[in-house]
Symmetry: C2
DNA sequence: GTCTATAAGACGATAGAC
DNA sequence: GTCTATCGTCTTATAGAC
């Protein structure tokens, strides 16, 4: 993963197994291609249901568990996508900045859901927005810092066992952090 | 923050308010400069005491709280440094990879400290390495995803109030996640 | 639609005067 | 040590034949 400047059109063409000229037949500029890819990924990213899921009648425990599971699956299975977005945000989000407002709306809806859980006594009184940051930080770390994580785990890819263990530990950790009882 | 390929020597020279030629008087190649900066930051990064702090007699609660506080301060005060390392790791850590072994040793020592806490009943039985990943993921997110976080908080920089609130919420969240009693 | 060839410019690095 | 000028290379993008 190298971001916009770190990748050449030649490399893109090579990986697509087409010529550079052919690539330019389909796209106008490299920037445009980058922007398109980025927006596609970000849409997929934002639309990952953040608690206002299937039915609003899910318990806090069920909804949060499911969201963590989905986010971790995304990190395990499509780390490249996570990384592309990460580089864009690290760089100050010159392109995605405009779309933050869209995300804000999604998040506001999720904030209200969390507030309801808190009122109902399903979880502790935690700032919902900060809770999202923590969940994002943890789950995305397994994609973005893949090399470091795997190096320390002594592997070169996440085995099915690794995934289960991580998912289980992370879920229980976050649920406890939310003050949601660990036992069934 | 743009990584190695994303920054031109011209930009570096401009920001240093010297000419491009003068820059090349002090450094040989751009790669060399990048490597030097990276290794300096990473050393500072790794040496941030990870639990095997001052005295080994610190309680789990005190040691973890202190570490979170230090990491968050670093994220708030020197986000650029965090970002440079983040980009390097996102890119597969071509340069830092060799130094991972050093970090592994630091981490192994910290793992033993955590194991002791668990044996003593100071905290729940959590995989220490995964715990580190979660703490790193959360704390670094406030630096690396700065734009996104601040955009959602409705600010353009972390105020003293923001910092206190984040630090307090994050610390309590993680301590609860570790099964360490919230009250005094 | 797909190719070869090349234009046009950006960039890292150096030469050489002062 | 610091400057101006420039070389050589890499890269994006286009022109034009087929």
């Amino acid at each position: 993963m190298h971001g916009l400047a770190g990748t050449t059109t030649q490399a893109i063409a090579d990986r697509s197994k087409i010529s550079k000229a052919k690539l330019h037949y389909y796209i106008d500029t490299k920037d445009e291609l980058y922007r398109k890819i980025l927006e596609d990924i970000y849409d997929e990213w934002v639309e990952m249901e953040l608690f206002h899921s299937a039915g609003n009648d899910l318990s806090a425990k069920a909804a949060i568990s499911r969201y963590i599971s989905e986010k971790l699956d995304f990190s395990f299975e499509q780390p490249e996508k996570s990384k592309i977005v990460a580089i864009e945000i690290l760089s100050g989000a010159p392109i995605l900045k405009e779309q933050f407002s869209e995300q804000k709306q999604h998040t506001q809806r999720a904030v209200r859901v969390v507030r309801r859980w808190i009122k109902r006594g399903e979880m502790l009184d935690i700032d919902p927005t900060l809770l999202f940051f923590m969940i994002w930080g943890i789950t995305q770390h397994f994609a973005d810092a893949e090399v470091e994580v795997q190096s320390m785990l002594g592997t070169t890819s996440y085995s099915a066992k690794d995934r289960e263990r991580i998912k289980s530990e992370v879920t229980r950790f976050i649920l406890r952090g939310c003050g949601i009882s660990d036992s069934e």
